[in-house]
């Protein structure tokens, strides 16, 4: 082990490669205590008398300690990476830091107990290159997330940052930039997958001295956090992409509309903007080009519909965030009636790399119609939850099993037969099932399967998940988030929710299902914006792939997973019941009867399925609730 480490510590030409300790400071790791870990490192390293720098220095230093943005493997946080060995320590606590300092930093040995253990092979993994979660990924947008200090512009510059924007302002014409983006085939990463080059070209051709670019960072899909991670991990890349977009269409004002549920992302973006202003990249004379360029970071106020372009514009103008009909498209008449383009965080981060490395390099990954990579937030019942980036065309099997490590059951253990479905695209998306294991994940294949890439939230679900109640969950969400402008969205989603409640609570008949299906079609047709048009998708998709589960609820008044309380039929297992009378005493409606020390019974007529009996029973004799 030691020889292996010392070998790796030698960089090129016999120069020792720089030693670094990187503490992940994304939202997930901070919640798990990363700030205390960072403080402990500062303290312990000093106590050990090791010279350390915490800021970025271009020249070689003995040891650098810094924070980074989200490294993706949130579940195992707080994460600590030690370079040059590439050791990744998981679930590090402040108490572990002294050992890391003496063992790794001083003695050059790995602290085995903090290494990741692959649950499949039970092998200890020394670094990211050995961990299956990272091995199968291709990090393009996320490349520097997790190594560079997001609050240090010097480090971003050292990594080649702002060179692409400088080039865009000083040596490329707007036409050339748009051409390069068009050639790359980049499609919007926010959901729809509209070709970015085409959007830019439409705005570029507008003859108007005032134009705007808005970065859509209002990542409202529940279960998605890709944009948060990019903003927290590499905020300057988003800002640089925004500058390039502004140059390409001839805009002098840019805005970043961030969800206010992401306080850390808001802070880092604001800091990035003020650094860029200080360095003269923003201001009256951006990059010395003579052109003026400004940027402002705005916070959303908690409305999902504001992710829709025209609703976001209304919100920025100080109104209720309600969409308006298109055309005119924002590229023709957007913010304050001026030509405006709105791009997603991830799209803008891609733009930087495309200009830096060329459209050809970008096209090498992904498929012909969906080039490049996509980040996905992999969550739910998988062994490894976190942020992943794969080329378009990767299959569901690779993401869920190779990267995600497989499906977990209710107790969190891996269950090889546990897979039921993956929900992709949030409240606008749909379900993918076993039959889609080998479906390439790209815009067009997913659409043909009745789902969509969406912003990239992937929620895995195990066999114990009731698909009807998942459909209800999404309908409840869209119903609450409907802005109220279109009648069919406002009232239709409410009625669909009521129908789903009927199904879940045992009041439904065959007609309920017909009505649900009919209403779904009407809401799709009668709504103005994406929210309403796609709101019925989760229902339609679960109806398509899990019809038998709906039928069980409707015709047999039975929830196959036992999750729907109203359909539960609690009973007492006479073999387990010892007649302690605890349940009978707890029952609020007196539905439980029986002799002392004899098995008790539940009167189904009286029972209100509250579950108090199951909580009261110490012998787990109450089943079915």
């Amino acid at each position: 082990m030691i020889s292996e480490l010392t070998q790796n510590t030698l960089g090129g030409a016999g120069q020792p490669a720089p030693r670094r300790v990187i503490v992940c400071a994304g939202t997930g790791c901070v919640a798990s205590g990363a700030n205390q870990v960072l403080k402990a490192f500062q303290h312990q390293i000093q106590a050990a008398g090791i010279p350390v720098v915490t800021e970025f220095k271009a020249e070689q230093v003995d040891l650098r300690l810094n924070q980074s943005g989200c490294q993706g493997f949130c579940q195992m946080g707080p994460l600590v990476t030690v370079l040059p060995e590439g050791l990744l320590y998981c679930k590090v606590k402040a108490e572990d830091v002294a050992e890391i300092v003496t063992q790794t930093l001083v003695a050059g040995r790995a602290v085995d107990r903090l290494l990741y253990v692959d649950p499949a092979t039970k092998k200890r993994c020394h670094g990211v290159d050995q961990i299956p979660f990272y091995q199968r990924q291709q990090r393009f947008v996320l490349r520097n997330c997790g190594t560079i200090d997001p609050e240090c512009v010097e480090e971003y510059l050292h990594e080649g940052g702002y060179a692409a924007a400088r080039k865009a302002f000083l040596s490329l014409t707007p036409e050339q930039i748009v051409q390069e983006i068009t050639k790359s085939g980049l499609r919007g990463r926010g959901g729809g997958g509209f070709p970015t080059g085409r959007k830019w070209e439409a705005a570029r051709l507008q003859q108007n001295p005032k134009k705007y670019v808005i970065c859509n960072a209002d990542e409202g899909d529940p279960g998605a956090f890709m944009n948060r991670s990019v903003m927290e991990g590499n905020p300057h890349s988003v800002l640089e992409g925004l500058m390039i977009a502004a140059r390409a269409i001839g805009a002098d004002e840019t805005l970043i509309y961030v969800r206010s549920e992401y306080p850390l992302a808001v802070r880092r973006m604001r800091q990035a903007v003020s650094e860029a202003r200080r360095l003269g990249f923003l201001g009256e004379n951006a990059f010395g080009s003579g052109q003026s360029l400004n940027c402002e970071v705005l916070e959303g106020a908690g409305a999902f519909v504001c992710g829709e372009e025209t609703a976001m514009i209304a919100s920025i103008e100080g109104e209720r965030g309600m969409p308006r009909p298109k055309p005119p498209f924002p590229a023709q008449s957007g913010l304050w009636g001026k030509p405006t383009i709105i791009n997603n965080v991830e799209t803008l981060a891609h733009v930087v790399r495309i200009l830096r490395e060329g459209a050809e390099t970008f096209r090498q990954l992904g498929t012909a119609a969906s080039p490049g990579t996509k980040t996905f937030a992999l969550t739910g019942h998988v062994a490894n939850t976190g942020l992943v980036e794969v080329p378009f065309g990767a299959t569901l099997r690779e993401i869920v099993f190779d990267i995600g490590g497989g499906i977990t059951n209710r107790r969190g253990k891996i269950d090889p037969e546990g897979f039921k479905a993956v929900q992709i695209g949030g409240p606008s998306g749909g379900c993918l099932t076993r039959e889609h294991f080998d479906l390439p994940m790209d815009y067009d294949s997913l659409r043909s399967a009745g789902a969509m890439v969406g912003s990239g939230g992937l929620v895995a679900m195990n066999q114990q998940t009731c698909m009807v109640s998942i459909a209800r969950f999404f309908m409840d969400f869209t119903q609450r988030e409907s802005c109220g402008k279109c009648v069919l969205c406002r009232e239709g989603t409410r009625q669909m929710l009521a129908l789903l409640d009927d199904i879940i609570e045992g009041r439904a008949t065959g007609e309920t299902l017909d009505l649900l299906q009919k209403l779904a079609g009407a809401v799709q047709k009668g709504s103005l914006c994406g929210l309403g048009k796609t709101a019925p998708n989760p229902v339609l998709s679960t109806l398509r792939y899990f019809r038998e589960e709906y039928d069980a609820h409707v015709f047999h008044k039975h929830c196959p997973t036992g999750q729907c309380k109203a359909l539960a039929k609690p009973s007492i297992d006479p073999a387990k019941c010892k007649g302690c009378t605890a349940c009978a005493k707890k029952c609020p409606v007196g539905a439980i009867s029986g002799e002392r020390k004899q098995p008790h019974v539940i009167d189904q007529e009286k029972c209100i399925k509250c579950g108090e009996c199951a909580d009261a029973c110490k012998l787990d004799a109450v089943v079915g609730v």
């Binding site: 529940p222 109104e319 942020l387």
Partner: protein, 168 residues
Amino acid sequence: MMTKSKPESTGRKFVKVCNILDQYGRKPSRLVPILQAVQEEYRYLPQEVLTYVATALDVSPARVYGVATFYAHFAIQPKGKHLIRLCDGTACHVKDSVPILEAIWKRLGLDAKRKTTPDMLFTVETVACLGACGLAPVVVIDDQVHGQMTPESAVTLVEAVMATEVAL
């Protein structure tokens, strides 16, 4: 035509609101950030402040009220001293966030309709997603994010906050 200048008689009472309005140039287009700043100050949006903001910006109170009730973050009812937010995003939902909410409700004597305790110490809300899905299910108490919660551990956290209140 209403005047955009500070009304003298109420100026003293609303001095903080005035500062906020000035900070945003008293532009109606900045209504959302103005209300955000006001809420930061008062912890909710009192009706008299909304009316005052409308007058100062020379827009109708209906527009200000419309914006204040449209966005989920704005509260027109006072909130408790401690804000407990339970994430009910998809990832947290499939990992059983609802039993956690029910346990917190039960401990504090709240339900879907009553979100704030009568002593004004706790408000319990659900939010769509906090983006900490990797740690699902998540509970946020006074801006502190707690991951991988169970009904029991969440109640323990709430009780710890209650204990600090008793100690005061």
